[in-house]
Amino acid sequence: MAAPGAPLRTLRALLRELRHAAGRSYRDSPAYRHVLAAFRQHRVTSEKLCRAQQELHFQAATYLCLLRSVRQHEALHREYHGRGERSPQEVAGLVGFRLPQQPGGKG
């Protein structure tokens, strides 16, 4: 089976991602409780004894990858692809101009 690192590390990282996603009430969220319960039930430790444990760990690592990648993708989208159009002021500022102010309106 694939070796996605130590189970405890995966669990901690996964819980951290869930906190990110959920906000303040993360501890009550179904996902947080489900993940903790699953790990407790199977007592995933460093001992590679049980196939069910390995499967659970793989699932946890996959879910961690999903949450992490979605967060990173969204951050990149906001950074590079989400800006939209510049305002006329911004465009003028690009070449060092300022828009003229005409208190009486255009003539």
């Binding site: 089976m1 694939a2 499967e55 699932q59 690592a61 996959t62 990648s69 990173q72 990149l76 590079y80």
Partner: protein
């Protein structure tokens, strides 16, 4: 509700899960979530329902549908918009073998050819041993010559999955552009990160040579990882016999 644009303001406060006749349902406040074709959104696995609910609850001011991969996969499984039956899905998946990324090799430049050999040969060998088939690789523009018996073996193997899991498998294959990498991933032989790396081997090679462009390369990498991870998780959650409601998964 129908969502005409790719983004919409978050219109609900609470997301919860309930159990109905056909499986687990998602509630946005008091409203039950529906698919794009207005069917009731029901999933066979509680863990999957929780993950979908988490996607909905993670949305901040606007609902970013393009980040909700598990929801999208469930909608596809429920609506089956391409109207394909099980055998059509399986044949579409196995057809990918003819142009499988890891079988399609270059001869130039030598460094890339070497990299492909070192990184891809092991996973092809694994597949050949695991499934007792002949696959091989090719530098020909026509791609590898896959024996009919190999294809039939994969058809039989995929037939053991239910319809929902198959939608997931076909999705992963189209993302990774490789049946072999997808099976390696589904069989838990490699991680999502490794599968994506192997799928993007040539890109990674070019990035190492010419440099990384964050707004393009990393953007694509994260999106591919997200989709592949979602597809894999979806397949596993729909295949677990202990947590799955079989009535919903009828082929």
């Amino acid at each position: 509700a129908l969502f005409p644009s790719s983004e919409r303001k978050r219109f609900y406060r609470n997301v919860s899960i309930s159990q109905g006749e056909g499986g687990f349902e998602i509630n946005l406040d008091h409203r039950k979530l529906k698919t794009p074709q207005a069917k009731l959104f029901t999933v066979p696995s509680e863990a999957l329902a929780i993950a979908v609910a988490t996607e909905w609850d993670s949305q901040k001011d606007t609902i970013k549908f393009y980040t909700m991969h598990l929801t999208t996969l469930c909608n596809t499984a429920l609506d089956n918009p391409t109207q394909r039956n099980k055998m059509q899905l399986i044949r579409a998946a196995v057809k990918f073998l003819e142009t499988d990324t890891v079988c399609y090799r270059v001869e130039e430049p030598p460094a890339l050819a070497e990299l492909q050999k070192n990184e891809w040969d092991p996973v092809v060998t694994w597949a050949e041993q695991r499934y007792n088939v002949t696959i091989g690789s090719s530098t020909s523009i026509l791609g590898p010559n896959i024996p009919a018996s190999t294809k039939e073996t994969f058809v039989s193997h995929l037939a053991s999955y239910n319809m929902w899991a198959l939608q997931g498998i076909e999705f992963v294959i189209t993302q990774l552009k490789s049946l072999i990498l997808s099976m390696s991933l589904i069989d838990r032989h490699i991680t999502v990160e490794k599968a994506v790396l192997l799928s993007r081997l040539e890109e990674e090679y070019q990035i190492r040579r010419w440099g990384n462009v964050e707004w393009a390369h990393d953007y694509d990498l994260c999106e591919l990882r997200a989709r592949t991870a979602a597809g894999t998780l979806f397949v596993h959650l729909c295949s677990e016999s202990s947590t799955v409601k079989h009535k919903l998964l009828q082929d």
